[in-house]
Symmetry: C5
Subunit: 355 residues, 5 copies
Amino acid sequence: MARIRRKRYHPPGTQPGTLVAHAEAQGTPVRVRAFRYDAGRCEERDVPAAELPSLSTPESGVLWIDVEGLSDPAVVRVIGERFGFHTLALEDVLNVPQRPKVEWYDEHLLVVLREIRHPEPAEQVSFFLGDRVVVSFQERPGDCFDPVRDRLRMGKGRIRSEGADFLLYALCDLVLDAFFPTLERLGDEVEEMEERVLVSPVPESFLAIRRLKRKLLEVRHAVWPARDALNLLLIEEHALIRPGTKVFFRDCYDHTIQLMDMVETFREMASGLVDEYMSAVSNRMNEIMKVLTVMATIFIPLTFIAGVYGMNFDTKASPYNMPELTWAYGYPALMLFMAAVAGGMLYYFRRKRWI
Amino acid sequence: MARIRRKRYHPPGTQPGTLVAHAEAQGTPVRVRAFRYDAGRCEERDVPAAELPSLSTPESGVLWIDVEGLSDPAVVRVIGERFGFHTLALEDVLNVPQRPKVEWYDEHLLVVLREIRHPEPAEQVSFFLGDRVVVSFQERPGDCFDPVRDRLRMGKGRIRSEGADFLLYALCDLVLDAFFPTLERLGDEVEEMEERVLVSPVPESFLAIRRLKRKLLEVRHAVWPARDALNLLLIEEHALIRPGTKVFFRDCYDHTIQLMDMVETFREMASGLVDEYMSAVSNRMNEIMKVLTVMATIFIPLTFIAGVYGMNFDTKASPYNMPELTWAYGYPALMLFMAAVAGGMLYYFRRKRWI
Amino acid sequence: MARIRRKRYHPPGTQPGTLVAHAEAQGTPVRVRAFRYDAGRCEERDVPAAELPSLSTPESGVLWIDVEGLSDPAVVRVIGERFGFHTLALEDVLNVPQRPKVEWYDEHLLVVLREIRHPEPAEQVSFFLGDRVVVSFQERPGDCFDPVRDRLRMGKGRIRSEGADFLLYALCDLVLDAFFPTLERLGDEVEEMEERVLVSPVPESFLAIRRLKRKLLEVRHAVWPARDALNLLLIEEHALIRPGTKVFFRDCYDHTIQLMDMVETFREMASGLVDEYMSAVSNRMNEIMKVLTVMATIFIPLTFIAGVYGMNFDTKASPYNMPELTWAYGYPALMLFMAAVAGGMLYYFRRKRWI
Amino acid sequence: MARIRRKRYHPPGTQPGTLVAHAEAQGTPVRVRAFRYDAGRCEERDVPAAELPSLSTPESGVLWIDVEGLSDPAVVRVIGERFGFHTLALEDVLNVPQRPKVEWYDEHLLVVLREIRHPEPAEQVSFFLGDRVVVSFQERPGDCFDPVRDRLRMGKGRIRSEGADFLLYALCDLVLDAFFPTLERLGDEVEEMEERVLVSPVPESFLAIRRLKRKLLEVRHAVWPARDALNLLLIEEHALIRPGTKVFFRDCYDHTIQLMDMVETFREMASGLVDEYMSAVSNRMNEIMKVLTVMATIFIPLTFIAGVYGMNFDTKASPYNMPELTWAYGYPALMLFMAAVAGGMLYYFRRKRWI
Amino acid sequence: MARIRRKRYHPPGTQPGTLVAHAEAQGTPVRVRAFRYDAGRCEERDVPAAELPSLSTPESGVLWIDVEGLSDPAVVRVIGERFGFHTLALEDVLNVPQRPKVEWYDEHLLVVLREIRHPEPAEQVSFFLGDRVVVSFQERPGDCFDPVRDRLRMGKGRIRSEGADFLLYALCDLVLDAFFPTLERLGDEVEEMEERVLVSPVPESFLAIRRLKRKLLEVRHAVWPARDALNLLLIEEHALIRPGTKVFFRDCYDHTIQLMDMVETFREMASGLVDEYMSAVSNRMNEIMKVLTVMATIFIPLTFIAGVYGMNFDTKASPYNMPELTWAYGYPALMLFMAAVAGGMLYYFRRKRWI
């Protein structure tokens, strides 16, 4: 069973704002891409490490710095210094996984989300929104941002005419949209499980339910704080987010509520599964027990009767000693009597609906 | 078992505000009707697709555009453009099912409700309230709006003398009223189940309880957010809803609270049903086990005694070897002894109230 | 088992504010009494239907219109028209049972409470507070208002010197006070049940617990919203309720909190009863099973031994074939051996505290 | 089992503000003591009933009227009239037990607390704080106020230099402090129970757990509302409580939070005890069942084999009829075979870790 | 099992603000160290008891008084007097354990945290923040503050250039960071337990789960109020905490949320463990029962048949009396019949998947 990934905290005592790469990030290649666009054009290029210090806020339009891979803390530090991001915020980028959150700093805004796209492992995505600048950090190459990249390149929709806040929205929206197929899949598994549990209530089913519950818990831990964070974004006033863009973030927020609805519904169903498993197990046990009960209850008196006529009382010693044994129809009569006893009991059980 | 209908999200990466018809909506015929009324008259007509672009806000009175069927996104788009509705709001109309909600835009208001009218499947109903305009969208033909249409046509009540906000109220009220018979029916089923579960605690009952709980959950998911949405409508000030109409929306809100009360009462009763089922199953099992126990406990010692006198000790080898076998009244005496043992045990069990 | 009484909603689509009598109200006689009083005098008279339209707000003092029976919607309509009550509020009077609530209208206040006085069925009591006027509506003749009527007639206490708001308080207080003996009785039943469940855990006890829980749920549904309504009354400013009277409503509110405390305590105890019932059932089952276990465990090996010596090996064919059968003390020795086995097991079980 | 003491309400219909002694209070002797002090001196005397009407607010310093015993409503009424306390507040003093609360009246403040000092029964303590006056009412003689009386008499600490609000604080603090040893004791009982339940899971343990849970519930009902009341005292501004004294009330409030923490921890532990009891009962049952199972499973086939060789087939009629019976080593061989069967099964059970 | 450490309250009646050492603190050596630093230098020295009264707020820079050991109340009193700390606050330092909290006094701030560093017992850490002064109190020598001491001595990071509020932050951060390895360890134990419970569901596992749950409860009691306290610190304005430092406290607050997330996840998992234990126990029991059932069900009819042919009916008395006994192939035929019965039942059980 997959371990719940836990925050790999810095060793206690680490100085606040220390930027070190996460152990698991070691070896991931780092790629930095810059998109510089305005309504009329979009210029895209890879930024080698050496050129990072020359990055600067564009005079007009929007600059998106798109970083994949967190193995090199220097990249994070240089970018942070260029745009004046707070060291605590930069630390949160490297020190994954953080709880999804939105944090306001004087000149910029940090948005941390968790991306869960089946079948890949969960990944933290961090966004900085500054003046005309968005910087996004991902743990690994491979993401769900291609639709936005395409829209930027081809000038589809309104994205190139809007500001950096709209780009932030578009990226957050993609991260949240990616939850839907994952949840849909988990929902299918829950429903499948409901059939399976009743048919074959084996201990494996119990483990499978536990695994399912844990996955749902993981999604919940990713979505619930994201909902709170987006709500905060809607309530608080901040110069970097224009009112017109808030309508879009409200839509995002709405998606998180729908996600929570789904998660909670599935969680309730999964909890019900444990009851159903228990009920199915005991139903099965009961069925077995009933067979034993019926068998035993029928044969116990019969065996006793047979035992009685197996006693060795001396029939010659006295006429009171088991005279039935010497009757001409003793045996057939006893057999009929036994059959009657068994039949009577079967009839009684059937009438009681025990069999 | 019916699947819980889940949001058929757009494929992740879809541009925000993209209007595409829902897969399940394909093939539903689209019908657009316009009601133009004021205190003195009501003019009703079907609007063919070609005439949609010429729709416009009336100079006086109220215009209700009543759309059934969502298979043609063009219809939604054209109407949205004519009255200046936000594309995200229009997207919510098509992208069913949305969670019930109220959303304010600068110039209009979106109300999304879910209609659950037994025996039809749940359906999303969306309302736009603009200046002197109400637009309602339904997923399928067939609805609960006829009482309002009749009141409009015949000028019954105050509806024609009131504004668009009152029409919105009247329509919402109908959607919510339709829940009552559905819930009443579910309540009947819960109470019926309570009788049945005690009489025949079969696994089918367990499944039926599960089905019932799921239906109640579905209603809850439809009513709970509607309650929150209506509360929001009452609290927030908006030029489109006059204070005099708020009293009516408060009545609506009151209905949602009553619905929630009923849903929660039935849910509590349904939860109790699982306990009762479990209790009934174990009662039944106990009854069976008790019969076995009593049978076995009575016959086990008797069988042993019979076994003893079935032993083949040589009575001739010594006078100590089972002399009882040769006694004149050995057999009848043993039979009486056995009867006494059985009777004693029966008396003991009866006194202990085990049988 | 008594059905939980559910709101008999109007048929969906009924025009808002339609006043029709509730089906169950048919045939209840209607009686309208008017009390016109001030500090100096109290004039009481029955008002026949024909005189209702001539009712009017008194110039000074307070007018209490006390209506019993809701079978005639005309009475409600006429009174409502005379004092300018909102039609939605009047509808709530007829459309019983409503959830207890307080509703402010511009010129008047509606208070709806539920009266549960054992052994009578629950009844809705609705109060309108206007300027110098209180109108009370009850479903049936027979109520808990006599103490107030007496105090009015005899000028006891401050009630005649106070305004209409104090009369409203006095009536609400009586409705809430009537809960205490009912709850006291339910509390007695819960405690009685606690004894009974342990002594005789029969399925009837289970049903009785369920009935008790349902009654407590009914009281809770009557008290909980009343508490919220009274709290609202305390918080909100309204010209009709003077600050001096608020202290009395606060006392009322305090009573609802005490009632909720009692209800919740009894509910917790009733929930514990189910556990105790289950525990008592399984204790009883265990006791029975233990007897079987001990009986079977003792006799199973003994029966086996007897079976062995019932085998028919030919003792003459060889000296190895069951020579015990021909020993002089074979039988007594075996009997002693069996007694030793049984005694040993009994000792073992006793030491293990199984018997 | 001790009954949960319930509010002995006035008979429904009692006029608000009626002062009658509680039935249980009858016969308790009433003692009124007055402490008149300022920084320099403290004068203490018993006030006979006749002198009560001459009590008055001191010109300087603080007056504490310390009343024990509530059997005489006249005492409460006279004191209330002298200092202008509201009749509803006085009613709360007599009509015990009230839920702990703080109530502001225009000129004074009412604080109701419940005192639970093991092994005495719970008692209501009511305090009135007026201008330079504190009046305390207790149900019975004997209390926890002696430390304050001593500090007043001997001028220890700051109490004599502070105002009436500080005296109120000092008395409340004593009432709350008295909970700690009681809770400590309940905590010890819970921990003791944890050991006992595993060792001897008898039904008496179940009853003891129930008793413990009920006691904890009682403490919770005394502490929880006290916490809310003290919080209210901290939040609201009132001329009678000076800011400097609020720091002390905050300390009191802190104690109620610690008490709640303890209560909730013990309640959680006590709830766990029921699970442990159930688990211990079923463990014990399982142990017994396993012995039966193993015994039966071993002897059932052996008994069958013995039964086979007890059959009476005529060995002379044919050589196929049980020739084993006449073999020279038939019996010993069968005995060995049976021992092998039994040994094999024991080995199998041991390997499966069933025994 | 370790007892939950409970507040060793003062004896009820103790005067508020009385400073006495906790019974458990007796004998712990007291060590007071003073760090006086500013951006340029850091001077560290041990302060003997005699010099405590000469301590004073520095003119510039920051003074940290670092106290280990609470056995001498005089030390606490003298320091409190020197810097004007409230006696109630000082009492909280000595009267351990307090619930973690933040308390504002006019001129200073008290922060109480609980430090849980495996494998040491929990310890209370109290901080006073005054103007340019931080005083920290710990119960025992040995702590997690060395990283800060080193940073102060070596001038690493910004700590020496910041104010007293930053020092407070740095110390709180260390206390909270120390929870992470402890929780990580508990998480490992929970996961280990999950494997173990399924493999060997012995009563010891049940006790181990209980122990685990209790430890998690202890951590929860330490973290939950710390979270609330830090939140309060963020919300309220106070001259002693500069806005720039609040960003750091927000980071601290964030850590407590992460800790709570971990605690709650582990608690949910631990609760699931009880279900799994119960399920594993009953699975194991079921397995045993099934073997008995199958054995018994197969042999019961066979034993009956053998019993029948052990009856002693006189075959010579009549040709109807058990003629099978004298048939040539009677015995082999019966054996085959018995084998067929047993085989048929085995086949039936296998098909039903009972074995």
